[in-house]
């Protein structure tokens, strides 16, 4: 879906759904997950249908994830940090 146009230099390690991912620093959580082929970030709170990043500029609130235990974080606004724990948000899951 997306690929990196140039070689990565410095990386950090993040944990997405329990798996370690090495991602380049200086990017947002949304772009780090997209380049790894992760398009689905959550399920709709109404129908449960899959949703992923949309506007990439903080307007649409589609890319909401649970980051370090805090739910409803806009992944397109948050830079990746070492050891960040990231989870998808599923409907009816507390």
């Amino acid at each position: 879906m997306f690929k990196k146009q140039y070689e990565s230099h410095e990386t950090v390690s993040i944990i997405f759904e329990g798996k370690n991912l090495d991602v380049e620093i200086g990017q947002t959580v949304a772009s780090a997950l997209l380049v790894g082929g992760n398009m689905v970030f959550r399920s709709s709170v109404v129908s449960g249908q899959p949703r992923g990043p949309y506007c990439m500029m903080g307007v649409c609130f589609e890319c909401l994830l649970e980051i370090d235990g805090i739910p409803n974080q806009r992944a397109c606004m948050i830079p990746v940090r070492e050891a960040m724990k990231i989870k998808r948000q599923q409907k009816n899951k507390e």
Partner: protein, 472 residues
């Protein structure tokens, strides 16, 4: 919650895009104390997003972005040196009547999520524009995005689409982004032109005046030429577009002259023009009017960007959308007005100092009425014909539900919201607001001007109770 005294500034500017940066530079040149609050981690706004780092670390890509970026880079450098206080990563969530401004971390990382406030004598809203949402069946499927999303991914992290890309919509930005994708070797499998039939004829009377800023026209034509020359299948006169797939986009179904055909796609990029971000000006109670050519609301302002609310002005694309060059000029003009209003310069000095900016403004603005008319959004893409289409993405409210509710007798977006939850989700109606006004107006056979818009209440951005409790 305001027991701690808020730091005071002559001038608080929300937004560090071309308009906000220019205003800060001019206000500082006249000695005002200035605070700039911006949501992004670096200055430049969406147009010049991540520009400093692009220039420093990806110079070959930076130079390909064009001359506009040289100007952008110089503007950012002057802004960073102007002496304004500048906070990145700040989301404004409330503005009190006395211009006390409350802001939290936009990224809500634990270390800097503190809820802060500050006090302005004069306030400038320079929060820019966003793409007009283009509701169509399947537009919530992952892999469907507005075209600027790939521009952001490219500029901020060097990502480019991988796989089959379909471009759909109308407007100069779609042509520009299409050409950038071609430049980096992306495979564009179709270009679906949704421009209004006969728009060129309607715009022609405005062409002679537009030729006075012909640079924009030649650039636009060269972009179109490049897309046609690249041999991308180009379809105009499209009536239907539907995104298909479950957990990700698989294909795009295209309807033309009653016939349907499918194109395989990994990414569908939509564009139906750019509209002002009016969340803050609406929340403050500024008067707005309906701009019928481009079908959006804009705050009513005078020649200096003053709104109907005392001490509050706007600059840039959060008013009439006009691009980076005009935004920058409007920032300088709004700041000169503030310098005058605060008693630092006289009215005559303000007028004299504004002369070079007014000349610059004239150079750029001739082309706008022509472009606005040429790319006026067509009804088909404002009010989805397919009643199953979701108008409200957050609460999943279909076009048909809105129509039915209107027929039951509701009169405005707020009563629709209480009946259907439309506009009540996380995005606070940023994605459905215009569509809702259009649908109600269509049902009632009046202009959206008569229907109005959702009432925008605080918090302007969703914030957590935890953030509310953390006061610096």
């Amino acid at each position: 919650m305001n027991s701690i005294r808020a730091p005071k500034f002559d001038y608080i500017i929300i937004g560090a895009g071309p308009a906000g940066m220019a205003a800060a530079i001019t206000a500082r040149a006249h000695g005002l104390s200035v605070l700039v609050l911006d949501e992004q981690p670096s200055a430049g706004g969406q147009i010049f997003r991540n520009i400093e780092s692009l220039e420093a670390t990806r110079n070959s890509e930076f130079s390909k972005l064009g001359q506009e970026y040289e100007f952008g880079s110089s503007l950012v450098r002057r802004f960073k040196k102007c002496g304004a206080d500048y906070f990145t990563d700040r989301s404004v969530w409330q503005i009190d009547n006395n211009l006390q401004i409350h802001h939290v971390s936009a990224s809500a990382s634990k270390s800097n999520s503190v809820n802060s406030h500050c006090q302005a004598k004069r306030l400038l809203i320079a929060v820019g524009a966003m793409e007009r949402p283009m509701p169509l069946p399947g537009w919530t499927i992952p892999g469907v995005m507005p075209c600027t999303a790939v521009d952001v991914l490219y500029k901020s992290s060097g990502l480019i689409p991988d796989g089959e890309v379909v471009l759909a919509g109308s407007g100069p930005l779609l042509l520009l982004i299409g050409c950038r994708l071609l430049d980096v070797g992306v495979h564009v499998s179709a270009f679906l032109d949704t421009s209004m039939n006969g728009a060129l004829l309607k715009a022609l009377p405005l062409l002679p005046n537009a030729l006075r800023s012909h640079k924009y026209l030649t650039r636009g034509l060269s972009l179109l030429w490049k897309i046609r020359k690249a041999g991308i299948p180009f379809y105009s006169g499209i009536q239907n577009i539907e995104a298909l797939g479950t957990s990700k986009l698989e294909k795009v179904r295209i309807g033309k002259s009653g016939k349907f055909f499918d194109v395989t796609a990994d990414l569908l990029l939509l564009h139906n023009g750019v509209v002002p971000n009016v969340q803050i000006t609406r929340n403050l109670g500024c008067e707005h009017r309906w701009y019928d050519v481009q079908r959006y609301w804009e705050p009513i302002v005078d020649d200096w960007g003053n709104t109907s609310v005392d001490h509050v002005s706007i600059a840039g694309d959060c008013g009439r959308v006009a691009g980076a060059a005009i935004s920058e000029v409007s920032g300088h003009l709004a700041a000169l007005e503030t310098v005058y209003q605060l008693g630092v310069i006289s009215k005559v000095e303000r007028d004299n100092l504004s002369q070079p900016h007014r000349i610059e403004l004239a150079r750029h603005k001739h082309v706008r009425p022509f472009l606005d008319k040429l790319f006026q959004p067509s009804k088909t893409w404002l009010v989805p014909e397919n009643d199953k289409t979701l108008a409200c993405r957050c609460e999943e409210v279909k076009v048909s539900e809105i129509r039915e509710t209107v027929r039951m007798g509701i009169k405005d977006p707020d009563s629709l919201k209480s009946m259907t939850r439309c506009g009540m989700g996380y995005c606070q109606a940023r994605m459905c607001g215009l569509t809702v006004s259009e649908i109600i107006a269509e049902e009632k056979k009046v202009s959206p001007e008569e229907i109005g818009y959702f009432k925008v209440r605080s918090p302007i951005r969703p914030i957590t109770l935890g953030q509310l409790a953390e006061i610096d």
